[in-house]
Protein backbone atom coordinates (compact mmCIF):
# COMPACT_ATOMS: atom_id res chain seq x y z
CA UNK A 1 0.00 0.00 0.00
CA UNK A 2 1.35 3.41 -0.85
CA UNK A 3 0.92 6.18 1.63
CA UNK A 4 -0.66 9.30 0.26
CA UNK A 5 0.58 12.52 1.77
CA UNK A 6 -2.16 15.06 2.09
CA UNK A 7 -0.85 18.47 1.04
CA UNK A 8 -1.26 21.06 3.75
CA UNK A 9 -3.37 23.86 2.35
CA UNK A 10 -2.36 27.07 4.07
CA UNK A 11 -5.20 29.47 4.89
CA UNK A 12 -5.35 32.33 2.41
CA UNK A 13 -6.31 35.93 3.01
CA UNK A 14 -7.71 38.93 1.18
CA UNK A 15 -5.78 42.03 2.35
CA UNK A 16 -8.58 44.59 2.11
CA UNK A 17 -9.42 44.14 5.78
CA UNK A 18 -5.83 44.86 6.74
CA UNK A 19 -5.96 48.00 4.60
CA UNK A 20 -9.07 49.18 6.46
CA UNK A 21 -7.58 48.43 9.87
CA UNK A 22 -4.27 50.16 9.21
CA UNK A 23 -5.95 53.19 7.74
CA UNK A 24 -8.24 53.56 10.74
CA UNK A 25 -5.30 53.12 13.14
CA UNK A 26 -3.36 55.84 11.31
CA UNK A 27 -6.41 58.13 11.24
CA UNK A 28 -6.92 57.72 14.98
CA UNK A 29 -3.33 58.71 15.65
CA UNK A 30 -3.04 61.48 13.06
CA UNK A 31 -5.88 63.76 12.15
CA UNK A 32 -4.22 64.69 8.86
CA UNK A 33 -5.04 61.25 7.47
CA UNK A 34 -8.00 61.33 5.07
CA UNK A 35 -9.44 58.83 2.59
CA UNK A 36 -10.58 59.77 -0.91
CA UNK A 37 -12.63 57.44 -3.10
CA UNK A 38 -14.76 57.27 -6.26
CA UNK A 39 -18.13 55.73 -5.35
CA UNK A 40 -15.99 52.90 -3.99
CA UNK A 41 -16.73 53.04 -0.27
CA UNK A 42 -17.73 49.38 -0.28
CA UNK A 43 -15.18 48.01 -2.74
CA UNK A 44 -12.38 49.94 -1.02
CA UNK A 45 -13.57 48.58 2.34
CA UNK A 46 -13.99 52.11 3.71
CA UNK A 47 -17.33 51.62 5.48
CA UNK A 48 -15.77 51.40 8.95
CA UNK A 49 -13.56 54.38 8.20
CA UNK A 50 -16.58 56.40 7.13
CA UNK A 51 -18.49 55.42 10.26
CA UNK A 52 -15.68 56.58 12.49
CA UNK A 53 -14.50 59.61 10.49
CA UNK A 54 -17.45 60.73 8.36
CA UNK A 55 -15.86 64.09 7.57
CA UNK A 56 -12.55 62.60 6.59
CA UNK A 57 -13.89 60.39 3.81
CA UNK A 58 -14.19 62.35 0.59
CA UNK A 59 -16.22 60.62 -2.11
CA UNK A 60 -15.84 62.48 -5.41
CA UNK A 61 -18.23 60.11 -7.18
CA UNK A 62 -17.34 58.29 -10.38
CA UNK A 63 -14.61 60.70 -11.44
CA UNK A 64 -11.06 59.36 -11.24
CA UNK A 65 -9.21 62.32 -12.73
CA UNK A 66 -10.95 64.53 -10.21
CA UNK A 67 -10.16 61.94 -7.52
CA UNK A 68 -6.41 62.13 -7.96
CA UNK A 69 -6.32 65.86 -8.59
CA UNK A 70 -8.34 66.46 -5.42
CA UNK A 71 -5.92 64.15 -3.62
CA UNK A 72 -3.02 66.34 -4.72
CA UNK A 73 -4.83 69.43 -3.47
CA UNK A 74 -5.51 67.81 -0.11
CA UNK A 75 -1.81 66.98 0.18
CA UNK A 76 -0.96 70.56 -0.73
CA UNK A 77 -3.28 71.66 2.06
CA UNK A 78 -1.33 69.70 4.65
CA UNK A 79 -3.37 66.51 4.79
CA UNK A 80 -2.25 62.95 4.10
CA UNK A 81 -4.66 61.56 1.50
CA UNK A 82 -5.04 57.84 0.89
CA UNK A 83 -6.67 57.85 -2.53
CA UNK A 84 -8.39 54.54 -3.08
CA UNK A 85 -10.06 53.21 -6.22
CA UNK A 86 -10.11 50.07 -8.34
CA UNK A 87 -6.59 49.76 -9.76
CA UNK A 88 -7.48 49.95 -13.46
CA UNK A 89 -9.40 53.21 -13.17
CA UNK A 90 -7.06 54.79 -10.65
CA UNK A 91 -3.97 54.20 -12.76
CA UNK A 92 -5.42 54.18 -16.25
CA UNK A 93 -7.92 56.98 -16.10
CA UNK A 94 -5.90 59.28 -13.88
CA UNK A 95 -2.45 58.51 -15.25
CA UNK A 96 -1.63 62.10 -16.10
CA UNK A 97 -2.87 63.33 -12.73
CA UNK A 98 -0.60 60.76 -11.11
CA UNK A 99 2.33 62.00 -13.18
CA UNK A 100 1.81 65.76 -13.10
CA UNK A 101 -0.17 66.43 -9.91
CA UNK A 102 1.38 63.81 -7.64
CA UNK A 103 4.85 62.76 -8.81
CA UNK A 104 6.08 65.81 -10.72
CA UNK A 105 4.52 68.29 -8.31
CA UNK A 106 5.82 66.33 -5.33
CA UNK A 107 2.44 66.03 -3.64
CA UNK A 108 2.39 63.21 -1.16
CA UNK A 109 -0.64 61.27 -2.32
CA UNK A 110 -0.86 57.61 -1.37
CA UNK A 111 -2.44 55.88 -4.34
CA UNK A 112 -4.14 52.64 -3.30
CA UNK A 113 -5.01 50.36 -6.22
CA UNK A 114 -7.83 48.05 -5.16
CA UNK A 115 -8.59 44.64 -6.72
CA UNK A 116 -5.28 44.70 -8.61
CA UNK A 117 -4.01 42.29 -11.21
CA UNK A 118 -6.79 40.10 -12.54
CA UNK A 119 -8.76 40.01 -9.29
CA UNK A 120 -11.85 41.22 -11.15
CA UNK A 121 -11.71 38.07 -13.31
CA UNK A 122 -14.86 37.80 -15.39
CA UNK A 123 -15.36 41.56 -15.52
CA UNK A 124 -12.67 41.44 -18.15
CA UNK A 125 -9.62 43.35 -19.35
CA UNK A 126 -11.19 46.78 -18.80
CA UNK A 127 -11.26 45.88 -15.12
CA UNK A 128 -7.88 44.15 -14.92
CA UNK A 129 -5.06 46.20 -13.51
CA UNK A 130 -2.12 44.52 -15.19
CA UNK A 131 -0.59 47.50 -16.97
CA UNK A 132 -0.21 49.47 -13.74
CA UNK A 133 3.34 48.39 -13.01
CA UNK A 134 4.53 49.29 -16.52
CA UNK A 135 2.73 52.62 -16.55
CA UNK A 136 3.75 53.75 -13.10
CA UNK A 137 7.32 52.48 -13.16
CA UNK A 138 7.79 54.81 -16.11
CA UNK A 139 6.98 57.82 -13.91
CA UNK A 140 9.83 59.44 -12.00
CA UNK A 141 9.70 60.05 -8.26
CA UNK A 142 6.89 57.56 -7.71
CA UNK A 143 7.72 54.40 -5.75
CA UNK A 144 5.70 51.37 -6.91
CA UNK A 145 4.87 48.87 -4.18
CA UNK A 146 3.37 45.42 -4.58
CA UNK A 147 2.80 43.95 -1.13
CA UNK A 148 2.31 40.19 -0.98
CA UNK A 149 0.42 39.24 2.12
CA UNK A 150 -1.13 40.76 5.21
CA UNK A 151 2.13 41.61 6.97
CA UNK A 152 3.59 43.24 3.89
CA UNK A 153 0.39 45.15 3.21
CA UNK A 154 0.54 46.60 6.72
CA UNK A 155 4.21 47.44 6.25
CA UNK A 156 3.52 49.10 2.88
CA UNK A 157 0.77 51.29 4.29
CA UNK A 158 2.91 52.37 7.24
CA UNK A 159 5.88 53.04 4.97
CA UNK A 160 3.72 55.11 2.61
CA UNK A 161 2.31 57.12 5.52
CA UNK A 162 5.79 57.99 6.75
CA UNK A 163 7.35 58.61 3.32
CA UNK A 164 8.26 62.05 1.98
CA UNK A 165 6.40 61.84 -1.32
CA UNK A 166 3.70 60.03 -3.25
CA UNK A 167 3.63 56.34 -4.00
CA UNK A 168 1.42 53.70 -5.58
CA UNK A 169 0.57 50.49 -3.81
CA UNK A 170 -1.52 47.53 -4.82
CA UNK A 171 -3.95 46.38 -2.14
CA UNK A 172 -4.09 42.60 -2.58
CA UNK A 173 -7.52 41.01 -3.01
CA UNK A 174 -6.90 37.58 -4.53
CA UNK A 175 -6.47 35.36 -1.49
CA UNK A 176 -2.93 34.21 -0.77
CA UNK A 177 -1.31 32.61 2.29
CA UNK A 178 0.86 34.64 4.64
CA UNK A 179 4.39 34.02 3.38
CA UNK A 180 6.58 36.96 4.34
CA UNK A 181 8.36 36.59 7.71
CA UNK A 182 7.10 39.12 10.23
CA UNK A 183 10.59 40.55 10.77
CA UNK A 184 11.36 40.99 7.06
CA UNK A 185 12.80 44.35 6.03
CA UNK A 186 10.49 46.76 4.26
CA UNK A 187 12.54 49.51 2.69
CA UNK A 188 12.75 51.05 -0.76
CA UNK A 189 15.37 49.31 -2.85
CA UNK A 190 15.55 46.33 -0.51
CA UNK A 191 14.53 42.83 -1.49
CA UNK A 192 13.65 39.95 0.81
CA UNK A 193 15.36 36.61 0.21
CA UNK A 194 12.75 34.02 1.12
CA UNK A 195 14.78 30.99 0.22
CA UNK A 196 18.50 30.51 -0.43
CA UNK A 197 19.52 28.66 -3.56
CA UNK A 198 22.52 28.27 -5.85
CA UNK A 199 21.31 26.98 -9.22
CA UNK A 200 18.66 29.40 -10.29
CA UNK A 201 16.76 32.45 -8.96
CA UNK A 202 13.04 33.12 -8.98
CA UNK A 203 12.01 36.72 -8.32
CA UNK A 204 8.34 37.04 -7.46
CA UNK A 205 5.88 39.64 -6.22
CA UNK A 206 2.36 39.70 -4.85
CA UNK A 207 0.16 36.72 -5.65
CA UNK A 208 3.10 34.93 -7.25
CA UNK A 209 5.28 34.63 -4.13
CA UNK A 210 3.59 31.59 -2.60
CA UNK A 211 3.52 29.93 -6.01
CA UNK A 212 7.25 30.59 -6.48
CA UNK A 213 7.96 28.99 -3.11
CA UNK A 214 5.92 25.94 -4.09
CA UNK A 215 7.85 25.65 -7.34
CA UNK A 216 11.13 25.91 -5.43
CA UNK A 217 10.09 23.02 -3.21
CA UNK A 218 9.32 20.80 -6.16
CA UNK A 219 12.61 21.81 -7.77
CA UNK A 220 14.49 20.88 -4.61
CA UNK A 221 12.96 17.41 -4.69
CA UNK A 222 14.39 17.17 -8.22
CA UNK A 223 17.83 18.28 -7.09
CA UNK A 224 17.61 21.89 -8.28
CA UNK A 225 18.44 24.56 -5.72
CA UNK A 226 16.25 27.61 -6.40
CA UNK A 227 16.70 30.93 -4.66
CA UNK A 228 13.44 32.84 -4.14
CA UNK A 229 13.54 36.61 -3.86
CA UNK A 230 10.68 38.99 -3.26
CA UNK A 231 10.91 42.65 -4.24
CA UNK A 232 7.93 44.46 -2.71
CA UNK A 233 9.37 47.66 -4.17
CA UNK A 234 9.21 47.14 -7.91
CA UNK A 235 10.51 50.68 -8.05
CA UNK A 236 13.08 51.45 -6.68
CA UNK A 237 14.31 47.92 -7.27
CA UNK A 238 17.00 46.25 -5.17
CA UNK A 239 19.58 46.15 -7.95
CA UNK A 240 22.39 44.71 -5.88
CA UNK A 241 20.38 41.70 -4.80
CA UNK A 242 19.40 41.14 -8.43
CA UNK A 243 23.03 41.37 -9.60
CA UNK A 244 24.14 39.02 -6.83
CA UNK A 245 21.55 36.50 -8.03
CA UNK A 246 22.84 36.88 -11.58
CA UNK A 247 26.42 36.28 -10.41
CA UNK A 248 25.70 33.43 -8.00
CA UNK A 249 23.05 31.45 -9.93
CA UNK A 250 22.80 30.49 -13.59
CA UNK A 251 19.53 32.06 -14.62
CA UNK A 252 16.65 34.19 -13.40
CA UNK A 253 12.91 33.73 -13.72
CA UNK A 254 10.67 36.67 -12.83
CA UNK A 255 6.97 36.23 -12.15
CA UNK A 256 4.28 38.86 -11.69
CA UNK A 257 0.53 39.26 -12.12
CA UNK A 258 1.09 42.05 -14.63
CA UNK A 259 2.08 42.60 -18.22
CA UNK A 260 5.75 41.90 -18.75
CA UNK A 261 6.37 44.87 -21.03
CA UNK A 262 7.45 47.19 -18.24
CA UNK A 263 6.89 45.69 -14.83
CA UNK A 264 9.06 43.58 -12.53
CA UNK A 265 10.50 41.40 -15.30
CA UNK A 266 11.45 44.38 -17.41
CA UNK A 267 13.01 46.10 -14.41
CA UNK A 268 15.08 43.04 -13.52
CA UNK A 269 16.05 42.47 -17.16
CA UNK A 270 17.26 46.02 -17.44
CA UNK A 271 19.60 45.56 -14.46
CA UNK A 272 20.76 42.09 -15.46
CA UNK A 273 21.45 42.97 -19.08
CA UNK A 274 23.52 46.00 -18.12
CA UNK A 275 25.40 44.68 -15.12
CA UNK A 276 25.71 40.91 -15.43
CA UNK A 277 23.84 39.24 -18.28
CA UNK A 278 22.40 35.77 -17.60
CA UNK A 279 19.51 34.01 -19.32
CA UNK A 280 16.10 35.04 -18.05
CA UNK A 281 12.48 34.03 -18.43
CA UNK A 282 9.78 36.62 -17.76
CA UNK A 283 6.41 35.29 -16.63
CA UNK A 284 3.40 37.55 -16.60
CA UNK A 285 0.28 38.46 -18.50
CA UNK A 286 0.44 38.43 -22.30
CA UNK A 287 -2.37 40.08 -24.21
CA UNK A 288 -5.94 40.82 -23.17
CA UNK A 289 -7.36 38.07 -21.00
CA UNK A 290 -10.23 35.89 -22.19
CA UNK A 291 -13.32 35.54 -20.01
CA UNK A 292 -12.70 33.71 -16.76
CA UNK A 293 -12.44 34.10 -13.01
CA UNK A 294 -9.19 35.22 -11.43
CA UNK A 295 -7.93 31.74 -10.55
CA UNK A 296 -8.78 30.52 -14.03
CA UNK A 297 -6.89 33.41 -15.63
CA UNK A 298 -3.78 32.88 -13.51
CA UNK A 299 -3.76 29.29 -14.81
CA UNK A 300 -4.46 30.48 -18.32
CA UNK A 301 -1.33 32.65 -18.32
CA UNK A 302 0.81 29.96 -16.66
CA UNK A 303 1.11 31.98 -13.47
CA UNK A 304 1.20 28.86 -11.34
CA UNK A 305 3.79 26.79 -9.50
CA UNK A 306 3.80 24.51 -12.54
CA UNK A 307 4.33 27.40 -14.92
CA UNK A 308 7.21 28.69 -12.83
CA UNK A 309 8.72 25.21 -12.65
CA UNK A 310 8.59 24.89 -16.43
CA UNK A 311 10.25 28.27 -16.90
CA UNK A 312 13.02 27.34 -14.47
CA UNK A 313 13.69 24.04 -16.28
CA UNK A 314 13.71 25.94 -19.55
CA UNK A 315 16.14 28.62 -18.42
CA UNK A 316 18.50 25.99 -16.95
CA UNK A 317 18.36 23.95 -20.17
CA UNK A 318 19.35 27.05 -22.10
CA UNK A 319 22.61 27.22 -20.14
CA UNK A 320 23.16 23.48 -20.58
CA UNK A 321 22.48 22.62 -16.95
Amino acid sequence: MTSVSVPVVAPAYDCRQVFAEELIALARADERVVAVCNDSVGSSNLVEFRNEFPDRLINVGIAEQDLVGVGAGLANGGLIPFVSAAGPFLTGRALEQIKADCAYSGHKVILCGQSPGMAYGELGPTHHSVEDLSWLRAIADLPVLVPTDRAQTRAAIRWAYAADGPCYLRIPRFRVPDTIPADALFEPGRAVTLREGSDVTIIAIGTMVSRALQAAEVLESEGVSARVINTPFVDPLDEDTVVRAAVETRGIVTVEEATISGGLGAAVASVVSQRHPVPMRLLGVNGFAPTGDAAYLLNHFGLTADGIHTAVVDVLESVGA
Binding site: S40, G61, Q65, L123, D293
Partner: protein
Protein backbone atom coordinates in the same frame (compact mmCIF):
# COMPACT_ATOMS: atom_id res chain seq x y z
CA UNK B 1 -16.69 36.47 -33.14
CA UNK B 2 -20.24 35.22 -32.70
CA UNK B 3 -22.44 35.09 -35.79
CA UNK B 4 -26.09 35.74 -36.43
CA UNK B 5 -28.84 33.26 -35.70
CA UNK B 6 -30.55 33.37 -39.09
CA UNK B 7 -34.09 32.27 -38.16
CA UNK B 8 -34.21 34.68 -35.21
CA UNK B 9 -32.82 37.51 -37.31
CA UNK B 10 -35.45 36.80 -39.98
CA UNK B 11 -38.22 36.81 -37.37
CA UNK B 12 -36.86 40.10 -36.02
CA UNK B 13 -36.87 41.65 -39.51
CA UNK B 14 -40.43 40.48 -40.11
CA UNK B 15 -41.61 41.82 -36.78
CA UNK B 16 -40.00 45.18 -37.49
CA UNK B 17 -41.66 45.31 -40.89
CA UNK B 18 -45.05 44.40 -39.43
CA UNK B 19 -44.73 47.33 -37.00
CA UNK B 20 -44.74 49.86 -39.82
CA UNK B 21 -48.48 49.68 -40.34
CA UNK B 22 -49.41 48.97 -36.71
CA UNK B 23 -51.31 51.11 -34.26
CA UNK B 24 -49.11 52.74 -31.64
CA UNK B 25 -50.98 50.85 -28.89
CA UNK B 26 -50.15 47.53 -30.49
CA UNK B 27 -46.50 48.49 -30.84
CA UNK B 28 -46.37 49.45 -27.20
CA UNK B 29 -48.06 46.24 -26.06
CA UNK B 30 -45.58 44.25 -28.09
CA UNK B 31 -42.62 46.15 -26.66
CA UNK B 32 -43.94 45.56 -23.16
CA UNK B 33 -44.14 41.83 -23.71
CA UNK B 34 -40.62 41.78 -25.11
CA UNK B 35 -39.37 43.71 -22.08
CA UNK B 36 -40.90 41.15 -19.73
CA UNK B 37 -39.21 38.36 -21.68
CA UNK B 38 -35.83 40.12 -21.60
CA UNK B 39 -36.04 40.77 -17.85
CA UNK B 40 -36.53 37.06 -17.20
CA UNK B 41 -33.54 36.24 -19.39
CA UNK B 42 -31.42 38.71 -17.45
CA UNK B 43 -32.35 37.06 -14.14
CA UNK B 44 -31.51 33.64 -15.57
CA UNK B 45 -28.14 34.80 -16.92
CA UNK B 46 -27.15 36.28 -13.59
CA UNK B 47 -28.35 33.19 -11.79
CA UNK B 48 -26.23 30.96 -14.01
CA UNK B 49 -23.15 33.20 -13.85
CA UNK B 50 -23.64 34.00 -10.14
CA UNK B 51 -22.40 37.46 -11.07
CA UNK B 52 -23.79 40.55 -12.75
CA UNK B 53 -25.34 43.98 -12.29
CA UNK B 54 -29.00 43.20 -11.95
CA UNK B 55 -30.28 46.59 -10.75
CA UNK B 56 -29.00 48.57 -13.72
CA UNK B 57 -29.92 45.78 -16.14
CA UNK B 58 -33.54 45.98 -15.09
CA UNK B 59 -33.65 49.79 -15.15
CA UNK B 60 -32.31 49.97 -18.71
CA UNK B 61 -34.36 47.10 -20.19
CA UNK B 62 -37.29 49.15 -21.50
CA UNK B 63 -34.89 51.62 -23.10
CA UNK B 64 -32.99 48.86 -24.90
CA UNK B 65 -36.14 47.09 -26.01
CA UNK B 66 -37.68 50.29 -27.36
CA UNK B 67 -34.48 51.09 -29.26
CA UNK B 68 -33.93 47.67 -30.80
CA UNK B 69 -37.63 46.87 -31.11
CA UNK B 70 -38.80 50.01 -32.86
CA UNK B 71 -36.17 52.71 -33.38
CA UNK B 72 -32.73 51.61 -34.54
CA UNK B 73 -32.22 50.72 -38.20
CA UNK B 74 -29.98 47.69 -37.86
CA UNK B 75 -29.60 44.29 -39.48
CA UNK B 76 -28.38 41.56 -37.11
CA UNK B 77 -27.19 39.60 -40.14
CA UNK B 78 -25.07 42.50 -41.35
CA UNK B 79 -23.81 44.01 -38.10
CA UNK B 80 -21.08 46.11 -39.72
CA UNK B 81 -23.21 47.60 -42.51
CA UNK B 82 -21.66 51.05 -43.07
CA UNK B 83 -24.92 52.99 -42.76
CA UNK B 84 -26.37 51.11 -39.79
CA UNK B 85 -27.53 53.08 -36.81
CA UNK B 86 -24.99 52.93 -34.00
CA UNK B 87 -25.93 51.93 -30.48
CA UNK B 88 -23.48 52.19 -27.59
CA UNK B 89 -24.17 51.04 -24.05
CA UNK B 90 -21.79 53.29 -22.20
CA UNK B 91 -22.84 51.80 -18.84
CA UNK B 92 -21.17 48.59 -19.95
CA UNK B 93 -21.65 46.82 -16.63
CA UNK B 94 -25.22 46.18 -17.80
CA UNK B 95 -23.96 43.76 -20.43
CA UNK B 96 -26.56 41.13 -19.51
CA UNK B 97 -29.36 43.45 -20.62
CA UNK B 98 -27.55 44.22 -23.86
CA UNK B 99 -26.65 40.60 -24.63
CA UNK B 100 -30.18 39.35 -24.05
CA UNK B 101 -31.55 42.12 -26.29
CA UNK B 102 -29.00 41.41 -29.02
CA UNK B 103 -29.79 37.68 -28.87
CA UNK B 104 -33.48 38.46 -29.12
CA UNK B 105 -32.72 40.40 -32.34
CA UNK B 106 -30.76 37.44 -33.69
CA UNK B 107 -27.23 38.87 -33.58
CA UNK B 108 -26.16 35.51 -32.11
CA UNK B 109 -27.90 32.35 -30.89
CA UNK B 110 -29.84 32.74 -27.68
CA UNK B 111 -28.28 29.59 -26.24
CA UNK B 112 -25.05 31.57 -25.95
CA UNK B 113 -26.58 33.58 -23.10
CA UNK B 114 -25.99 30.52 -20.90
CA UNK B 115 -22.23 31.07 -21.19
CA UNK B 116 -22.35 34.58 -19.71
CA UNK B 117 -19.00 35.13 -17.93
CA UNK B 118 -18.05 31.45 -18.11
CA UNK B 119 -14.41 30.61 -18.98
CA UNK B 120 -13.57 31.59 -22.56
CA UNK B 121 -17.10 32.85 -23.26
CA UNK B 122 -17.44 35.66 -25.82
CA UNK B 123 -19.97 37.12 -23.38
CA UNK B 124 -17.58 38.80 -20.96
CA UNK B 125 -18.82 40.75 -17.96
CA UNK B 126 -18.47 43.86 -20.15
CA UNK B 127 -19.25 43.95 -23.89
CA UNK B 128 -16.49 43.20 -26.37
CA UNK B 129 -16.82 44.50 -29.91
CA UNK B 130 -14.32 41.97 -31.18
CA UNK B 131 -16.42 39.03 -30.01
CA UNK B 132 -20.05 40.11 -29.99
CA UNK B 133 -21.80 41.46 -33.12
CA UNK B 134 -23.95 44.48 -32.33
CA UNK B 135 -21.43 45.82 -29.85
CA UNK B 136 -19.91 48.99 -31.31
CA UNK B 137 -17.15 49.64 -28.78
CA UNK B 138 -15.82 48.00 -25.62
CA UNK B 139 -17.27 49.64 -22.55
CA UNK B 140 -16.87 48.92 -18.84
CA UNK B 141 -14.79 51.80 -17.59
CA UNK B 142 -17.50 54.43 -17.20
CA UNK B 143 -17.29 57.56 -19.32
CA UNK B 144 -16.01 55.97 -22.53
CA UNK B 145 -19.05 55.30 -24.68
CA UNK B 146 -20.19 58.88 -25.10
CA UNK B 147 -17.07 60.35 -26.76
CA UNK B 148 -17.00 57.34 -29.11
CA UNK B 149 -20.65 58.00 -29.96
CA UNK B 150 -19.79 61.61 -30.77
CA UNK B 151 -17.14 60.30 -33.16
CA UNK B 152 -19.66 57.96 -34.79
CA UNK B 153 -22.09 60.85 -35.32
CA UNK B 154 -19.35 63.06 -36.73
CA UNK B 155 -18.30 60.27 -39.11
CA UNK B 156 -21.89 59.90 -40.34
CA UNK B 157 -22.03 63.61 -41.03
CA UNK B 158 -18.70 63.60 -42.87
CA UNK B 159 -19.71 60.58 -44.93
CA UNK B 160 -23.13 62.04 -45.73
CA UNK B 161 -24.78 59.02 -44.10
CA UNK B 162 -28.27 59.13 -42.56
CA UNK B 163 -27.07 56.85 -39.75
CA UNK B 164 -28.22 57.81 -36.24
CA UNK B 165 -26.19 57.25 -33.10
CA UNK B 166 -27.69 56.49 -29.72
CA UNK B 167 -25.70 56.18 -26.50
CA UNK B 168 -27.07 55.09 -23.12
CA UNK B 169 -25.38 56.44 -20.01
CA UNK B 170 -25.79 55.69 -16.33
CA UNK B 171 -26.69 58.66 -14.17
CA UNK B 172 -23.81 57.94 -11.80
CA UNK B 173 -21.69 57.70 -14.91
CA UNK B 174 -22.50 61.36 -15.63
CA UNK B 175 -20.07 62.23 -12.84
CA UNK B 176 -17.23 61.37 -15.23
CA UNK B 177 -15.75 64.49 -16.76
CA UNK B 178 -15.22 62.81 -20.14
CA UNK B 179 -19.00 62.81 -20.62
CA UNK B 180 -19.21 66.55 -20.27
CA UNK B 181 -16.32 66.99 -22.67
CA UNK B 182 -18.27 64.87 -25.16
CA UNK B 183 -21.49 66.78 -24.48
CA UNK B 184 -19.68 70.02 -25.23
CA UNK B 185 -18.20 68.64 -28.46
CA UNK B 186 -21.57 67.39 -29.71
CA UNK B 187 -23.23 70.67 -28.76
CA UNK B 188 -20.52 72.62 -30.55
CA UNK B 189 -20.89 70.58 -33.72
CA UNK B 190 -24.69 70.52 -33.50
CA UNK B 191 -24.76 66.77 -33.98
CA UNK B 192 -28.49 66.37 -34.49
CA UNK B 193 -28.15 62.68 -35.41
CA UNK B 194 -26.93 61.93 -31.90
CA UNK B 195 -29.19 60.96 -29.00
CA UNK B 196 -27.84 60.49 -25.49
CA UNK B 197 -30.14 58.72 -23.03
CA UNK B 198 -29.45 58.92 -19.31
CA UNK B 199 -30.81 55.98 -17.34
CA UNK B 200 -31.84 58.20 -14.45
CA UNK B 201 -32.43 55.60 -11.73
CA UNK B 202 -30.97 57.90 -9.06
CA UNK B 203 -28.70 55.21 -7.66
CA UNK B 204 -25.07 54.45 -8.33
CA UNK B 205 -22.85 51.71 -6.88
CA UNK B 206 -22.69 52.77 -3.27
CA UNK B 207 -25.54 55.23 -2.67
CA UNK B 208 -27.98 57.67 -4.27
CA UNK B 209 -26.49 59.94 -6.90
CA UNK B 210 -27.72 63.04 -5.12
CA UNK B 211 -26.01 61.99 -1.90
CA UNK B 212 -22.80 60.97 -3.62
CA UNK B 213 -22.32 63.85 -6.01
CA UNK B 214 -25.47 65.64 -7.04
CA UNK B 215 -26.37 65.79 -10.73
CA UNK B 216 -29.39 68.06 -10.51
CA UNK B 217 -30.47 70.14 -12.29
CA UNK B 218 -29.57 67.59 -14.92
CA UNK B 219 -31.88 68.82 -17.68
CA UNK B 220 -30.56 72.37 -17.31
CA UNK B 221 -26.98 71.08 -17.56
CA UNK B 222 -27.71 69.39 -20.90
CA UNK B 223 -29.50 72.47 -22.17
CA UNK B 224 -26.56 74.65 -21.19
CA UNK B 225 -24.28 72.41 -23.25
CA UNK B 226 -26.38 73.01 -26.36
CA UNK B 227 -28.69 70.00 -26.31
CA UNK B 228 -32.41 69.58 -26.91
CA UNK B 229 -33.66 67.96 -23.69
CA UNK B 230 -36.56 65.53 -23.27
CA UNK B 231 -37.46 64.25 -19.83
CA UNK B 232 -39.56 61.06 -19.83
CA UNK B 233 -40.63 58.02 -17.85
CA UNK B 234 -38.01 55.49 -18.91
CA UNK B 235 -40.36 52.56 -18.36
CA UNK B 236 -43.13 53.99 -20.56
CA UNK B 237 -42.50 52.60 -24.04
CA UNK B 238 -44.87 55.09 -25.67
CA UNK B 239 -43.11 58.02 -24.03
CA UNK B 240 -39.75 56.59 -25.01
CA UNK B 241 -40.87 56.25 -28.63
CA UNK B 242 -41.78 59.95 -28.64
CA UNK B 243 -38.55 60.94 -26.96
CA UNK B 244 -36.56 58.98 -29.52
CA UNK B 245 -37.99 60.85 -32.50
CA UNK B 246 -35.29 62.73 -34.41
CA UNK B 247 -34.10 66.13 -33.26
CA UNK B 248 -36.54 68.94 -33.91
CA UNK B 249 -34.01 71.72 -33.40
CA UNK B 250 -30.88 70.71 -35.26
CA UNK B 251 -29.25 70.13 -31.90
CA UNK B 252 -28.30 66.76 -30.37
CA UNK B 253 -31.03 65.24 -28.21
CA UNK B 254 -30.61 64.34 -24.55
CA UNK B 255 -33.25 62.05 -23.09
CA UNK B 256 -33.38 62.02 -19.31
CA UNK B 257 -35.20 58.73 -18.75
CA UNK B 258 -36.53 58.52 -15.20
CA UNK B 259 -36.25 54.89 -14.21
CA UNK B 260 -36.23 52.59 -11.20
CA UNK B 261 -33.19 50.47 -10.49
CA UNK B 262 -34.28 46.84 -10.23
CA UNK B 263 -37.54 47.64 -12.06
CA UNK B 264 -40.00 44.75 -12.18
CA UNK B 265 -38.75 42.82 -9.15
CA UNK B 266 -40.34 44.47 -6.14
CA UNK B 267 -37.69 43.46 -3.60
CA UNK B 268 -34.94 44.86 -5.83
CA UNK B 269 -36.61 48.12 -6.79
CA UNK B 270 -34.79 51.28 -5.76
CA UNK B 271 -32.46 49.42 -3.41
CA UNK B 272 -28.77 50.24 -3.67
CA UNK B 273 -27.55 46.79 -2.64
CA UNK B 274 -29.02 45.30 -5.83
CA UNK B 275 -26.43 47.15 -7.88
CA UNK B 276 -24.51 43.89 -8.16
CA UNK B 277 -25.92 41.56 -5.57
CA UNK B 278 -26.67 38.06 -6.87
CA UNK B 279 -30.12 36.70 -6.01
CA UNK B 280 -30.43 33.43 -4.11
CA UNK B 281 -32.28 30.50 -5.69
CA UNK B 282 -35.44 31.48 -3.82
CA UNK B 283 -35.12 35.08 -4.90
CA UNK B 284 -34.62 33.98 -8.52
CA UNK B 285 -37.83 31.96 -8.32
CA UNK B 286 -39.71 34.89 -6.79
CA UNK B 287 -38.31 37.32 -9.36
CA UNK B 288 -39.26 35.16 -12.33
CA UNK B 289 -42.68 34.53 -10.86
CA UNK B 290 -43.25 38.28 -10.51
CA UNK B 291 -41.91 39.04 -13.98
CA UNK B 292 -44.09 36.35 -15.56
CA UNK B 293 -47.34 37.88 -14.33
Amino acid sequence: MLTADTPTAARYRDARRALQGSEQDDVVRWLQSVSAEIRIKIIRMIDTAQLGHVGGDLSVTDILVTLFGAVLEVDPEDPRAPDRDRFILSKGHCAAALYSTLAWCGYFPEAELGSFMAPLSPLNGHPNRRKVPGVETNTGPLGHGFPVAVGCALAARLRGSASRTVVVLGDGEMQEGSNWEAAMTAGHYGLSSLTAIVDRNRLQQGARTEETKALEPLDAKWAAFGWEVRVVDGHDHAALLMALLPSATGRPVAVVANTIKGRGVSFMEDRVEWHHKVPTADQVRAAIEELSR
